[in-house]
């Protein structure tokens, strides 16, 4: 596989393959489409202010960016050495053992699904007043969410990815709008540069864990860069560069925009966030910018949520495809529609879950913004934080056994630093879970959210141990993904059949 790096002049094969390879910009765009800037800045941040009452979010974005950048040093290094580099559980399987890997794969599925269904709640809740304003129709949030769900379900089964150019245009427009609005807020009347938003003291104070998880939520998607290790122009440079650029870009935009918003809202920012919700970011800038900009901002806010829901849907269906090929979940998920390559069964399963969640929230009249969008988003953020932490340790474990080809910085120094920092973050996050969700400590959501991750982790470990005893071929292929020849696609399964008990 190392032959991509050696390019003798005049090699037809290398030239032909190089034409299809991705550059830094393409990978950055892909990563950021899941991160959805406006969704975070206008959606997660004000909701988070209202729910937690904490204002140190800007510094939290910067701190998390730093930790994730340090983590990425070892992460992208390990990506060069292993197959199936797109999935955390592949790293964890090879660094900490297959049982923990299977547990992590289940945690990852739950986390990504939490993000995905969260976007339905956000879309419904945010679109409802806008549709009333624009078209004069007063729809229930869940009707709007179901329309979005139907669109995602159809696109998912047909595997229609949103066109890369459309996505890139929307993303750039989103970032521009975010920055323009943030600048407008700086020049608004009530603006007073907030020190609370950037006070490093908040990172060690009460509620710091909640802030950190909210910030992690904003970065989810950054881990997808390594999916393209094999597809990139130069695996040693393109993927690391894209990863660092995306993390830095996200950090700067988010930190700046949330600082501007909190500063412009003044001392009663928490009260205003509670009252105005996701409108806060737009209201603060509206005075300066006028209606046209406001409408444009709202439209992009909605498209940003749609991009995120499609993006997470596709990530989940491919995750299930990969696990199905390995035989870790039923093999039927490892099948695709031959004509399109769409991982159809994973997509259908995700859509079924989305439908159940939307209907349940509608029937029980739970709040779509706080209890679905914010809880789902931050719950998923907590899950990703757990996965990143485990992966960081896995990088150390892997390079302890396979030190070839990487220097001490990539193998040991950076992974050890990031592991320690991430472990502290994880502790704070779990310690602060009630504050994050805005509920009483010890109440049901504060127990269910973290417990579900640990139950899935334990379940995955047990399942892996069962596989080790009953289906050693499947066990051996855990973490190798769809790419490895030992895994259970249709043909490989045929070869392996004898090794399984009948």
């Amino acid at each position: 596989m190392s032959s991509t790096a050696t390019k003798p002049p005049g090699s037809q094969l290398s030239d032909a393959l190089a034409r299809d390879r991705l550059g830094v910009a393409a990978i950055v765009f892909f990563m950021m489409s899941a991160a959805a800037p406006l969704t975070v800045v206008a959606g997660v941040v004000p909701t988070g202010l209202a729910v937690t009452g904490l204002t140190g979010i800007a510094i939290a974005f910067l701190a998390v960016a730093l930790v994730l950048a340090i983590f990425s040093v070892g992460y992208v290094a390990m990506a060069r050495h292993i197959a199936n580099a797109g999935a955390f559980y592949a790293y964890i399987s090879q660094g900490l053992g297959r049982p923990v890997g299977v547990g992590a794969s289940w945690v990852a599925l739950l986390s990504y699904n939490m993000f995905q269904v969260a976007s339905y709640g956000g879309f419904g809740a945010i679109a409802q007043p806008l549709f009333l304003d624009w078209f004069g129709v007063d729809l229930q949030w869940w009707i709007i969410a179901l329309v979005a769900w139907a669109m995602v379900a159809v696109l998912g089964v047909r595997d229609v990815a949103v066109n890369g150019k459309v996505l890139a245009t929307l993303l750039i427009a989103e970032i521009v709008v975010t920055l323009v609005f943030a600048f407008a807020e700086i020049f608004s009347d009530g603006f007073e540069a907030s020190t609370a938003a950037v006070d490093p003291g908040t990172l060690v104070g009460a509620g710091s864990g909640a802030l950190l998880v909210m910030a992690v939520t904003g970065f989810v998607g950054f881990e997808q860069s390594v999916v393209f290790s094999e597809e990139s122009r130069d695996p040693r440079r393109t993927v690391p560069r894209a990863t660092y650029i995306a993390i830095a870009l996200i950090a700067v935009v988010y930190a700046f925009a949330s600082w501007a918003m909190i500063s412009a809202a003044g001392d009663d920012v928490v009260a205003r966030a509670t009252e105005e919700g996701p409108e806060l970011f737009f209201n603060l800038a509206a005075v300066q910018l006028g209606d046209v900009a406001l409408h444009l901002g709202h439209i992009l806010f909605l498209t940003s949520l749609v991009a995120a829901m499609i993006s997470f849907h596709n990530i989940i269906s491919r995750y299930m495809f990969s696990l199905g090929r390995e035989g870790v979940i039923p093999r039927t998920f490892g099948r695709t529609v031959p004509g399109t390559g769409a991982p159809k069964n994973g997509s259908l399963a995700q859509s079924a879950l989305g439908l159940i969640v939307i209907v349940a929230y509608a029937v029980f009249e739970w709040d779509p913004l706080v209890q679905l969008f914010f809880w789902g988003g931050t719950g998923g953020g907590l899950g990703v934080l757990l996965l990143v932490t485990l992966t960081s340790f896995a990088v150390i474990g892997y390079f302890a056994r396979n030190p070839q080809g990487e220097d001490v910085l990539h193998r040991i120094i950076a992974p050890v630093i990031s592991s320690v920092l991430l472990l502290v973050m994880t502790y704070l996050a779990i310690d602060n879970i009630a504050g994050l969700l805005g509920v009483e400590p010890g109440s049901t959501p504060a127990i269910v959210v973290p417990a579900s991750f640990f139950v899935l982790m334990a379940g995955g470990i047990i399942w892996a141990l069962i596989l080790r005893g009953s289906r050693p071929q499947v066990y051996a292929g855990i973490g190798l993904g769809a790419r490895a020849t030992t895994t259970t696609g249709g043909f490989a399964a045929a070869l392996n059949e004898t090794d399984q008990p009948r």
Binding site: F321, R325, G341, P343, T485, T487, G490
Partner: protein, 216 residues
């Protein structure tokens, strides 16, 4: 009525992967290319020109095969010998090269016909099977032999393996019952040379990879 002749595996796979009447592909271009690329490499192994050792393709005999498609691939393998693993060769052949070679071979043999469709802006070239009975024969042959418990020869095992690897089995082997499938799988293990087993497994892994990287 006499059965149509058995074609080289890549030709059989091409016919199996296309609608027997309109010639529409049942596979995405990337998956079709990976399957046909593996089929051409497999043909070179059957010609005893190339061996697959671990992940490397080793040329054991440089002489042309007497067939233009495989000779063209052999020539490229020879020119860049030892520089790329089998997965890179599959990726390369899947960029349209394998499909093109196989289409030309089938067109020369008169088994598919070139059709030009004039659109508003451009002319679209496609291929349709000359005879839908012949085009449907490879899949029928595999199905019939498997359900009669007859042995497939190595070329047909290669074809059947690539049908599974590309996911075409959902179209053409869907009617096999569990016992037939088990019988086919048993033939793969007992009668299919290990080198070809590995080639097909690499093709299958490449197909999965294409799905993960959103290329399929």
């Amino acid at each position: 009525m006499a059965s149509p002749p058995q074609l080289p595996p890549a030709d059989d796979l091409y016919l199996t992967a296309h609608d027997t009447i309109r010639g529409k592909s049942l596979l995405s271009p990337a998956t079709l290319g990976l399957g046909l690329g593996a089929a051409l490499l497999g043909e070179l192994m059957l010609w005893r020109r190339v061996d697959l050792v671990e992940t490397e393709l080793i040329i054991i005999d440089e002489r042309p095969t007497g067939d233009a498609a495989t000779t063209a691939v052999l020539e490229q393998l020879r020119r860049e010998a030892g520089q790329h693993g089998v997965r890179n060769w599959l990726a390369y052949l899947s960029t349209g090269i394998a499909t093109d070679l196989v289409e030309r071979r089938l067109a020369r043999a008169g088994l598919i016909k070139r059709v030009e469709k004039r659109g508003l802006l451009s002319t679209k070239v496609s291929f349709v099977p000359a005879d839908s009975m012949t085009a449907g024969w490879p899949a029928t042959r595999i199905r019939t032999k498997v359900s009669r418990d007859e042995h497939l020869d190595v070329a047909d095992l290669l074809l059947a393996g690539l049908i599974l690897a590309t996911g075409l089995d959902q179209h053409v082997l869907a009617t096999l019952n569990a016992r037939d499938r088990a019988g086919l799988f048993d033939q793969f293990r007992r009668l299919f040379p290990v080198m070809l087993q590995q080639l097909v497994a690499h093709a299958e892994a490449a197909v999965g990879d294409a799905v993960m990287a959103r290329r399929a």
